[in-house]
Subunit: 136 residues, 4 copies
Amino acid sequence: MNEFLWPVRVYYEDTDSGGVVYYANYLKFMERARTEWLRALGFEQDELIREEGVIFAVRSVQLDYLLPARFNDQLNVSSQVIKAGKASLTLEQIISRQPDNAVLCKGIVKIASLDAASFRVTTLPEALLKKTKQGE
Amino acid sequence: MNEFLWPVRVYYEDTDSGGVVYYANYLKFMERARTEWLRALGFEQDELIREEGVIFAVRSVQLDYLLPARFNDQLNVSSQVIKAGKASLTLEQIISRQPDNAVLCKGIVKIASLDAASFRVTTLPEALLKKTKQGE
Amino acid sequence: MNEFLWPVRVYYEDTDSGGVVYYANYLKFMERARTEWLRALGFEQDELIREEGVIFAVRSVQLDYLLPARFNDQLNVSSQVIKAGKASLTLEQIISRQPDNAVLCKGIVKIASLDAASFRVTTLPEALLKKTKQGE
Amino acid sequence: MNEFLWPVRVYYEDTDSGGVVYYANYLKFMERARTEWLRALGFEQDELIREEGVIFAVRSVQLDYLLPARFNDQLNVSSQVIKAGKASLTLEQIISRQPDNAVLCKGIVKIASLDAASFRVTTLPEALLKKTKQGE
């Protein structure tokens, strides 16, 4: 599947007194990018919950922090499915600084499809699996 | 009503690249203190939702930022009801630094009692109003 | 001065288990909008610190929460100077939901100009005061 | 080294509209626990910056999300050094729910010692390495 890019600007809220982006906040940037990637594919997560009873939950993350982002930095966050199961997707997400394209943070994020009521694992929406495979 | 004090430590997550606590985060400290004040009075907010169908929503806040808090500061957050209506409470909350007791931030927070399903205004739980008045 | 509008999308990070945007996070949206308003006027805050030794600090906020924002809502945040002093600006900031334009949150935010080293009050950068007045 | 435990209460600020703790916020809990572990060993991070010119930066994290934490949950966060290098420490951190001790989230966090001015890798403070080894 083709890589999806989402721009993120660093505001004061994202930084800490070390002068750089607080380490947990890169996960916020990645989640925004996944939300927009799903939207670009035609999936709104609030509709998925209401209409299909499906909610996504993150199962695991691996993050490598290579260079710090700072206040006012303009970043790109990529999202690319690297593995698609029946009930889970694994994405690679890379945060790079613009305009020099320096890679700041690399992540591998595994997402599971859950029944929104019981929080039990359930198959991914058919249409999403299809779109994910079309993109390969 | 007597003042209720709750201690808060400042961590990196609370600060920004200006070297001080990010201005929105004082509202987090105040909300923690209100949660613990309610707990001390015998009210757990998750039980209030499940058992009485009541959820609290903040209607308005006024904050005066007097001095900045910094990483590692030990703070006290006070909570004191200054006005109690049938469906709302107004609290004064003061954040002070320890051990010098310097006042860093003063807040006035108005909270409404809502029906957890409809989000419409509803009377405060009887027992809570009673406790609030006992304390006067 | 003309009103400046900045769009904000609500992500999971902004919401809480009450199903709505957490009350402190509206202050993040307002700060993003002020940052972008300054940028639109030609002022980058990191440059102001480095080149003019000036940093902005929020002195007070008043917020009225009228209607809750929810996950996936598309918001507009306005910024408009309603009072300009030698060393402070007071802005009105209104958060409205799109496309129905419902007003969700109204804020009055007073900002002071500080010397970045001493954190003492200092006059606003000349060029910023000028721009602020041009817009009236 | 013996395990260090730090209690954390879940507040509204930590949750999202899925009804559980937002996935990035477990990293905040782990960072609080590491700060308190260092404090228990006698190291204040603001003093380390001022007096030794050393700041810690997270190089990588691996997180497994096993069960969700919810509003009002009382958690324990453990910190245990599992590898100590000259300029880095690797900790295992486990977040468990009280009182049933269910494991909610497991993390491996690698921390590097940086020169606070240049952000270049530098050896860990001697006294910290010593304490870390004493505990083995």
